[in-house]
């Protein structure tokens, strides 16, 4: 893995230079599309950018130094870990990545939910605490099928390297694993029907209730990057890179945007589930599909012996 290639991945594609504008565009697309589906015109695509600028120009409420450090540090950590996760995405073919980068990728993907839980508790608001509890529970619930699907993919491809998994996992493993990952996608992006943690209005703003100004802007940025990373991961699984850089990039972008549109359609057409209902749904169907993927992976590896 060349240094140049890694730097390109981190800073240009699918890293920061691509991911920050793309993430903002995805958030804007989500809001506008949802408005259209609800019979409204919706905000212009520049809305998210102006929201971010406005938030950056607002002074956050003064806090005790220990609280302030946590409340600024946690969103920064989320942004940083998502930038790292994006750099590991095998969007383009080549010798990118290293053996075991799947483990690092999963670890980085799990940082924003963890930070959000800690942020909810650190903000010392009762709404933050309830939101944090919900986020913690739903993350644990959704990670059962998500991680099982990734284990199935790794078994099927016989490697813990993302690039090899994406190009080498057989379709009989990949298809059920992809379905399980897709089911977990709205949970990880906190969209309807799994918007339990941020639960707008119901819990004020969930874990982010006490966050304002620059700190909230950082959370928005982290959320935008989460969108790019998770839809991008699904995009690479659906269409593994072929080696033609331009074609791969175009396909990656298109599939990511299709993913956002599908998620918006789901979010606009469903209502928020309760924690028990969401758990039942994910564990009943997600675990079943992930179980099928695991069995297929095992079968493919051992030949049924």
């Amino acid at each position: 893995m060349s240094v140049l290639r890694t730097l390109f991945g981190f800073f240009v594609f699918p890293g920061l230079l691509y991911a920050v504008p793309m993430g903002l565009f995805m958030l804007a697309l989500e809001r506008r599309l949802r408005a259209r589906l609800q019979g409204r015109l919706g905000p212009p695509l520049s809305q998210v950018f102006y929201d971010l600028v406005k938030l950056l120009a607002k002074s956050p409420t003064p806090r005790r130094p220990s609280d302030a450090a946590l409340m600024t540090g946690l969103p920064l950590l989320s942004v940083g870990s998502m930038a790292g996760a994006l750099a590991l995405l095998p969007a383009l073919a080549g010798d990118g990545g290293f053996v075991g980068d799947l483990v690092l990728f999963v670890g980085l993907l799990e940082m924003p939910p963890l930070c959000l839980v800690l942020a909810g508790y650190a903000s010392r608001s009762i709404y933050g605490e309830v939101g944090a509890t919900r986020e913690a529970l739903i993350t644990i619930v959704s990670n059962v099928p998500f991680l099982a699907a990734l284990v199935a993919l790794a078994t099927g491809a016989g490697s813990l390297r993302l690039a090899q998994i994406v190009s080498g996992a057989p379709w009989m493993v990949r298809l059920p694993a992809l379905l399980a990952v897709l089911l977990c996608l709205p949970v990880k992006l906190r969209l309807n029907p799994f918007s339990l943690a941020n639960a707008e209005q119901e819990l004020l703003a969930g874990p982010l209730t006490e966050f304002g100004g620059r700190r909230l802007a950082l959370w928005e940025l982290a959320h935008a990057l989460e969108f790019v990373a998770l839809t991008g991961f699904v995009a690479t699984l659906v269409a593994p890179p072929t080696g033609l850089w331009v074609l791969d990039a175009v396909r990656f972008v298109t599939l990511s945007l299709v993913g956002v549109a599908a998620l918006t359609l789901l979010a606009a057409s469903t209502a928020r589930l309760k924690l028990g209902q969401a758990t039942r749904l994910i564990w009943r169907w997600g675990t079943l599909i992930a179980g099928v993927a695991l069995a297929a992976g095992w079968f493919f590896r051992t030949g049924g012996q």
């Binding site: 409204r40 919706g42 406005k54 120009a57 409420t61 703003a205 006490e210 304002g212």
Partner: protein
Amino acid sequence: MNAPERGLLLRLTERARRRSAWLFHLNAGSCNGCDIELVACLTPRYDVEQVGIRLEGSPRHADVLCVSGPVTGNARAALAAVYEQLPDPKVVVAIGSCPATCNVFAGSPMIDGPLDRVVPVTVYVPGCPPRPHSIIDGIARAIDLLASGRAVAGEAVR
């Protein structure tokens, strides 16, 4: 306030404030009439999200505090606390006749209003209840004052 003299960042900030106003709605003893009219602004017919206005769940996220109701004794402390929780710069929009004059509740021993005895009000939107058009107009005026930095605490535009 000459436009060319100000820096790019200042102009961008002003533009962003003008185009992205997040509201926090507080019911200070309202009969729910004005509250319904405020929510009507979000429906497909009026759709204020087109101009970036969004109803937020937390006062920490908001720029505009929309208050309805004549400010009852119970609501007074909550109102003062919520006003403090909005990060600067902020404006207050009084929705309906109640926060402006206490309306039919004037003189009641249960009422600590009108609103400007508790927090400085930027714009009054009269009506019982005001129509969504008037509310949108009031919010637009408040945003204009907020963005251009002319929203002075305690000074109202009627």
